[in-house]
Subunit: 195 residues, 2 copies
Amino acid sequence: MIRVLVVHETRLVRSGLAALLRDEEGIDAIAACWASAPGKARSFQPQVCVVDGDSARSGQPTSHPGGPGCALLVLASSCRPGTLRRAVAAKARGFVDKDAPPARFRHAINQVAAGQRYVDHTLTLDFLQAADMPLTARELTVLSLAAGGASVPEIARELHLSSGTVRNYMAAINRKTGARNRVDAIRISQGAGWL
Amino acid sequence: MIRVLVVHETRLVRSGLAALLRDEEGIDAIAACWASAPGKARSFQPQVCVVDGDSARSGQPTSHPGGPGCALLVLASSCRPGTLRRAVAAKARGFVDKDAPPARFRHAINQVAAGQRYVDHTLTLDFLQAADMPLTARELTVLSLAAGGASVPEIARELHLSSGTVRNYMAAINRKTGARNRVDAIRISQGAGWL
């Protein structure tokens, strides 16, 4: 029996994903929110932990609530290379497209539980793009503060920079993301999962 | 037997929600994406159609892919009054919190299929806020263009207004939403589901 812990912030979604997995004989799945996941992982001892890759914070690897013996399987939206990048940083062993049919999701669970890697073929192009992150860590920090509603002087104060330097960063970000302005750069970067 | 059509843009999510409903005796549920939903509704003839309220477009009512005899049940995130407002405009009969336990979701399906209304108690406060939409239709249009990356002159051209008038709208939007600037107003309005 493969024990799977499904972690998602939305209760009906995580319950639904666990129900999908339990439809397969040989899989036992329970669901948890992020806050309760580490505790549930300790008592349930899952072999596979499924998490929503899009829930990872900018610049941080995807969380892995399971222990060292537990494989991480990440659900990812296509066209969001930033999500894959954070999942790779978390040493995920499986990558499944959120738009995959349920049978493929269950197959991936079986593969990963058997010690194999699994990468959904529909995510291949995103992996190529994920290797080619356009923004530096500093630029990401600047853009992430801007996305939170901070003005240029506020960002400058927060990062101990001059306003001119922050404006230079913003110009570089716009150029690299092909954005028309700051709002556009935030929109594009959030869409790609970089932010 | 209650026939339910679950519509969501993400395949694993809609499949999972349908699996949750099928766990209850007396409910038959199938899943569809938005594009295939009207066709599936014609052949399956569901009594209840479940849709993700957050997928509705700014300023438009939530789509109802079922026919006139089919009740609409909307899944809504709490703290997004704009989602509820669009669901009310679509004459939804049921409103279920996405964070509700699966049993409550199934109970809501039964209620709505029996001709009753169902409103999740955790959404009550959001309904009060939904009645109190802070932005006018014109302000929403301006903010929605800004969120798409348009500059003030571009918005002015699109809406046949002067740049000064657009700036006045933006100032009113910032004041009403309590935002520090344009990026902040977009962030706050998207979070509330107004945009």
